[in-house]
Symmetry: C2
Subunit: 239 residues, 2 copies
DNA sequence: TTCAGGTGGATTGTTAACGATCATGTCAAC
DNA sequence: GTTGACATGATCGTTAACAATCCACCTGAA
């Protein structure tokens, strides 16, 4: 779990930064909603930002596109994805199908150390939430889910969940009421409690309810987000 | 589902072939076990095979690597992935966590047309199985699972399952007893029956049992495959 | 004032050549 | 005969320049 702090951008030139790190950083920025849906990701800008050549940026964007976190429009460039209502439903449905099982697995496999790490993390979440630090709150609540997947000990599912969480941030950015955060802390606390008691079924049920709650907080019929829709209506002429 | 027949390789030069198609074709070849684990995928060879430039091949290989179907070794090239025992366990665990839910969803949403399509497909499966056509049998039994995901109507999960099925073929290629096929037809028939009766819970349980059965047929402790391990130990001289 | 058309700039997509790294085969020494 | 080093060839990774496309701005006329 080596998440480099989101603070140090733009390390000028020393050790080469791999495309894995670039992808990870962009994922994180999307989760924190520093990169709103529809944002153009210019190649040259990213080259400067990360201090790497164009090829590496290109590869990173392709990787991000394969996870459906960015959209590549032919001859127009890369944009942060704007999930449709249909895609949003699919993402929620997928999370509801996968993450309860992850919670179940985590409950079976969590040891004392894991519980303690989660509790510490929950503390950070609460602090960020109380102090109104929206970005940290969003990032931390997302990280909680990835930590659960790590405890579950399945790399395949961890990767899937990272993708789904990132896309959820995009969905909330588009369809969520302003001020709505990703998760409720209470649910996370209950989840930790279920893990502590080694109660897989309860962990699964809490997670399912948790996800249903998140889904209920978005309105897939009305897009917020400063009329980003206009762009697609008037000049969206993709190949 | 526009799967171009796997027969016509090497269309010389006319309409450009996109990297999506290249990825799909390689996926298919891996599923059919025409590309055994560890096979070297030379760039120039693929350029010739698909009649495209090196860049497109490179992008395709990167995409395939992001799905963990090929491994990219620095300065050495791309190879068909050889899942470790740990990865194999994770793939099975992921399938067991996801696909029963897919079956459940499919049972809820399948209409008469879907059922009929599945039944037709099962017929093809049986024919291939009876006639000893191993390649077709493997491909068709894999396609059955993707068709189920399509009926479930969730593109996100469909993509995940395609990846998992492909990797399962690699796992069977390494750890499976020779002659073992991917799936049993009986289970597929039962699955169709559950869908016909709109019995989501039974569909889910059949799928779970089906996957457990597949997993039980591989022995993650002994690698078969003609000492593929030796090749990696002493100088990988393939292609 | 508004809309149509054209032009310039910028950005992306592609190709080609170069440099670096690794594998293979040969040859000499022990 | 075996082992080690060396040279050669091939393949991959990178960089740079070029071509194509699109967007925005500007101009001009109704």
């Amino acid at each position: 779990m080596t998440l480099p702090g989101p603070s140090t951008e733009q390390r000028s030139s020393a050790e080469e930064v791999g495309e894995e790190q670039i992808v990870e950083r962009i994922f994180e920025a999307v989760i924190e909603q520093r990169l709103p849906p529809g944002t153009k990701l210019s190649e040259s800008a990213l080259c400067q930002a990360f201090g790497v050549g164009r090829m590496r940026i290109r590869r990173s964007l392709l990787l991000l596109a394969s996870r459906e976190v960015v959209e590549l429009h032919s001859n127009r460039g890369a944009f942060v994805a704007r999930p449709t209502a249909k895609q949003a439903r699919e993402v929620f449905e997928a999370r509801l199908a996968i993450e309860p099982n992850v919670a179940r697995m985590a409950a079976k496999r969590a040891n004392a150390e894991d519980i303690k790490t989660l509790a510490r993390h929950l503390e950070l979440e609460s602090q960020a939430h109380d102090s109104g630090n929206r970005r940290d709150a969003i990032r931390l609540s997302g990280q909680f889910h990835t930590m659960l997947a790590q405890i579950a000990g399945n790399g395949v599912m961890l990767r899937m969940i990272k993708e789904l969480i990132t896309r959820t941030s995009l969905i909330i950015g588009i369809y969520g009421a302003p001020g709505v955060t990703n998760c409720r802390d209470d649910d996370h606390a209950d989840l930790i409690d279920a893990l502590r008691k080694t109660d897989p079924e309860r962990a699964s049920e809490i997670m399912a309810e948790h996800l249903r709650h998140i889904e209920a907080r978005v309105d897939l019929k009305t897009k917020t987000g400063a009329g980003v829709d206009l762009i697609s209506v008037f000049g969206a002429r993709d190949a």
